[in-house]
Symmetry: C2
Subunit: 647 residues, 2 copies
Amino acid sequence: MPIITFQPSKKTIDVPEGTELLDAARNTGIDIESPCGGKGTCGKCIVRITSGNVDSEQPGLLSESAVKRGYTLACKTKILDSPITVEIPEQSSKTGGQFIDETDDTCLVTKDLLPKDFQPDPLTVKLLLDVPYPQPEDGLSDLDRLTRSIQQELGKKEVAYPLPVIRQMAEALRKENENGKVTVTLAKTPGHFNVTNIEPGNQTTRHFGIAVDVGTTTVAVQLVSMPTGKVLATQTAYNDQIDCGLDVISRINYARRPNRLEELRTRVLKTINTLIDQLGDGNEVERDEIRNAVVAGNTTMIHLLLGLVPEYIRLEPYTPTLLETPFLKAEEIGINIHPQSMVYFAPAVGSYVGGDITSGLLCTDIASGSEEVNLFIDIGTNGELVIGNSDFLVTCACSAGPAFEGGGIDNGMRAALGAVDNVEIDGETGMPTVRTIGNVPAKGICGTGMISLLANLFLSGWLDAAGKLNREKKSPAIRTDGRQAHYIIVPAEESATGKPVTISEIDIENIIRAKAAIYSACALMLEQVGLGFDALSTIYIAGGFGRFLDIEKAIVIGLLPDLTRERYRYIGNSSLMGAYLVLVSGEKKRRQLELAGRMTYMELSTEPAYMDQYTGALFLPHTDIKRFPTLKDGPQNTQKDTEKKQD
Amino acid sequence: MPIITFQPSKKTIDVPEGTELLDAARNTGIDIESPCGGKGTCGKCIVRITSGNVDSEQPGLLSESAVKRGYTLACKTKILDSPITVEIPEQSSKTGGQFIDETDDTCLVTKDLLPKDFQPDPLTVKLLLDVPYPQPEDGLSDLDRLTRSIQQELGKKEVAYPLPVIRQMAEALRKENENGKVTVTLAKTPGHFNVTNIEPGNQTTRHFGIAVDVGTTTVAVQLVSMPTGKVLATQTAYNDQIDCGLDVISRINYARRPNRLEELRTRVLKTINTLIDQLGDGNEVERDEIRNAVVAGNTTMIHLLLGLVPEYIRLEPYTPTLLETPFLKAEEIGINIHPQSMVYFAPAVGSYVGGDITSGLLCTDIASGSEEVNLFIDIGTNGELVIGNSDFLVTCACSAGPAFEGGGIDNGMRAALGAVDNVEIDGETGMPTVRTIGNVPAKGICGTGMISLLANLFLSGWLDAAGKLNREKKSPAIRTDGRQAHYIIVPAEESATGKPVTISEIDIENIIRAKAAIYSACALMLEQVGLGFDALSTIYIAGGFGRFLDIEKAIVIGLLPDLTRERYRYIGNSSLMGAYLVLVSGEKKRRQLELAGRMTYMELSTEPAYMDQYTGALFLPHTDIKRFPTLKDGPQNTQKDTEKKQD
């Protein structure tokens, strides 16, 4: 009889072929919920097969990529005649993301951005060299022979070695049975080949890199196998700096007190290093095998990560210490990969348009050969916009706040397992039908969920244009508590936490402020370059809302301009994606520097017209309804229109 | 009445003008020895005037440079009508060198080696820059503006900044009242300008550097003011590695056990850092103000200092990890100067001819325009020889042991205060007349003293050619203890330690071995290049014997070949001097690399003829007396000859 091993408890059981996995688990004393009674509809019995084969039905609750990674419903899985190992997910995981293949979520377009026959051409390479053993009278030191071999392979650039590498040299070059074969890890930095490691023998196949996106609210790290360019996994977590302020300005203010800059630096490093550990552990990659890193982030985040005084980013004339960051050693930054690794930072354009944006642009066609004008919007805690074509690129920034990433919203959360990402509203009763990521009990609501919730409440008349819930037409989902009302998305008894998942009118106000900041920046920038929304060919929307941003709903709440839906393209976390592209491709790195050089920064915050635009946008969808022609006949009709379009 | 302050006790006294300083001290309760009764002949009342003027007679016991530095005999010094501060030397100083101007001792020829109108052109410079304040819309970061200013000043090379420097940037560039004036410390490394510090305002006058000579037995550090190139002070101490083996081979063997390499590294760093502290404290220079360093040392010493496996220096084909060391940061090496400073290492030629030799050559004319063949001999624990002219340079090495630096000799010591450096012998009684460095009670005997002692004992018939003391002709200075005899140089009651300063026949054997190693290497190398001693034009003798090596006596014991004395030039610690030259002069650095590239290394140890030569040289002066024609008629006559020549 096949043996089944359950992780992490290590319990085992022998069961006859054909037994249902859910039953096998229960027989072992492992309690897996199954409220739908094994019909495969509730999705609460998700487990992961980490070794061995099973016979499973996939009723469509899991993403294709999750299935590929071994996730399955225990109630729809039968044991075959072979031993298997089953991982029981810990439903209360705090950092989230473990059960969803976030690679899919965050890198929606990566595959299209590299040619089919792409060969990785990273900043840091592993070279297999044949270094002759020392010869009497040749007068060459170990370092001389190694340098000669490197230059024969790569050309006559200065070769630099840090002391720890020089210390490895004598033994690596004399290793028995290797005949002088050594693997050298080497970063191509300006003017130099920087050797960061030497190993005896051929170690070229194990070479890893990380792409890091340091957001104000969310940090994402991607583990990449350098020889193939394959993304092994992605992990995201909240930036541990959140406790010190929700947006960049409050972080900069926080940093003014003594030792606080160091605290902020330590906090974001902790977040990054925890993610690296998780990725490494999950993929059996040692931290010393990670030799390559590209970091993208807004200018403030990079200053805080490096411990640079951020104060002058906030003060006129808004001059940061650096825009292009020189290559720095992982060790000096404090990033826990191989200490000598050279870390590359995506170049920034200005104090409020950082390397996250130049990375994001790499994921678009915005500056390609065509004369068509395109718009790129990165919706994060800061919103950044770039408009342009092959001739010009103008960029600006606005402060949206962390609402869409779950920050500053009572039950807000990142787009991770258990996040509500879609809410349909019954027009009559005002009651919700909820979908969560991973189809597990809800833990909170992510940005996509908020947009869907607000749009559907508005369209069904349960929310007015000013963001107030309808208290007259009674709904069991709307509770009033003094002057404030809130909406119950998931009742306590159905949530993962035992508490209801709700949204308050204060939360709604925050979301409206966020969308107003983005929309008004968008409108004003177009005005400044003398173009209307109609002039735009493609609008790229980047941001970590969730798996899929519903553009239709984003227009309903007035986050995005009311344009033909075909013009929109949602590209997910393009900062991380761009960092990945730079990590694997020297050509993308050059392209990014070129784009950064071409961008003109426009300061909106000092523009008096910005406040007018912003105030006008503090309604659903906007005070000036003419700007939203498809919504002009009011919520009720629009809902029909929208539904028609969706058909 | 003028006030006199005594240091370090801080006692003060008012005395009438014209009072003798010795009396003034005694009146304050300070006990200064004066065995000669104030005649100015014993030299035991040496003190130093650190401020104020005095009226002093100099009976010639002190060197001119010591007098310049304020040293005087208390018994020959009268108080004038002005306050003075007097330092009472601590006679028992362990590291020594405090009272002698070692600058004079070790840098005998420095002044001749630089042109009169020399302007320092160091590897690391301090630049005063005018960096414009940030301007709205100029789109330049702090780093961009600084880089632009540096490149405008020095040319278009890549400018590199370590993270701690980037962290200083924002505040340094915005310092009130400085109008963007900043002082940048910058090292010119291959392919880069390496910025190692930024300070607001003009800080160019305070800029210091160190030249370091890491010898197997002795370490010397020199503190230099970079704007002027002036040597502020020199300190020497025994290499703390001595406890782990007296010569390079025993150190390499020591390093084979686990953690022993790290121990050796830590020990030599401790020695260097202690010397740096002493120099800094004595000259009111903060360690962070020292931004420039050049290190010279033999190949093994450099490997041990850097923590590099030295094993393959000892094993055929004798290949070290490095000959030319890349620039390294002080911080990564562990040298306690400004942590970001770039340290330059003098290039080595082979496993046994190191950067100490290429530095030493800079202090000679050996490879200059002329066709005359010259010889350079550096007599340290390892002896290294270079022969050549403008066409060729051949080099070899031999192991002499530490005897001439005081190592492995019972009462041996470095050439420091209290070291016996000359011993005259009474032919009749065999009794010595002793001179010590600083004319203070003897603590031990230095290399120069040993050579003088052995030569004079030999010339007066108290020592035979085999190195045995004459036991037949009784002398109170010769004591026999079992089979061993020893010679009492200074009796217990006259020494500084309360113990006699002696030399045993075992010590004498060690000295003879050392001189034999040097002489035979010299003879064999000349033979190998097909030249006789007569072909030599100038013979440069380098080494830390003492203030002045008596060439005459060195020939008598057979350390040096018997050539006209005019051909010899004693140049002291030329490794330290050469390091100093490279520290202050870019041209000398280039010259040194060129010399290193031109030198051909000859391995003597594998040469069977070497052992024959060596065995023949284990006598005073040599088994083959024909090689020493001026000594051919035996000791007694030679003494007369020598005396005649000296007249």
